[in-house]
Symmetry: C2
Subunit: 137 residues, 2 copies
């Protein structure tokens, strides 16, 4: 058997756990034709109607320039619309069709998040979210 000294490094295990979870969620969203970033954006736009692409990108840590093709694809898929706020900014809204897809995605995600937490032994379970939030913010 191979030795794995990396298992004791929190940073490494964090990366592996995130990758494993991310790959699984991507697989589960695939039948819906949605990517993780799509769902994140739909959730944030629904919670903040009229948000601009720049502000959305700042929340998700995605560069302005990289938002363009993503939002264009979502607009082409009739998931969101862009409406002029003023001559410079565009406000984002979730379409009716987008809300329906979002409802499906939420069912997938809620199930996924529940399963994720169930894998964590009970004595550690409620420490996960606050610990991770402390690492991120």
């Amino acid at each position: 058997m191979m030795k794995d000294p990396l298992a004791s490094y929190p940073g490494y295990v964090l990366r592996r756990a995130a990758h494993a979870a991310g790959a699984e969620l991507t697989m589960r969203l695939e039948p819906l034709g949605l990517r993780q970033s799509d769902v994140s954006m739909l959730i944030l736009i629904e919670a903040n109607p009229g948000i601009t692409a720049s502000a959305l990108g700042r929340m998700l840590d995605i560069q302005r320039a990289n938002m363009v093709p993503i939002l264009k694809r979502m607009e082409d898929a009739d998931l969101i619309v862009r409406e002029a706020i003023d001559g410079k900014s565009m406000g984002l809204e979730v379409t009716r069709a987008g809300l329906a897809r979002l409802a499906d995605a939420r069912a997938v995600i809620d199930q996924f998040e529940n399963e994720l937490l169930e894998r964590v032994p009970a004595e550690h379970r409620h420490h996960l979210l606050p610990a991770l939030n402390a690492l991120w913010r």
Copy 2:
């Protein structure tokens, strides 16, 4: 202020925490001319001398095909050597220069991992690693 409903999703926070930590470690390793994968490989090769590229890839969840350019770069940088085990397999070893670089990298990583854990409130701290390991394995 914008609403952020994503903050309550463990999977999302996991991804953000891993990305933030990864970006920071990458920055700290950059002066050493090493990437995270380089250091992971050096650690694993040192712990398992003579390991093959395929076995190393399986441990790190990196495809065989993607190991080729990585190992070639590390060999060109005189961090590792490949020695024939038989007519098919090559055993990997860390060079003397590789060991020196690995020592520098370990100092960076140990400091980084300590700081990472210090950011987690004490009551959650020792739950992080077991919780993450449960998600991954």
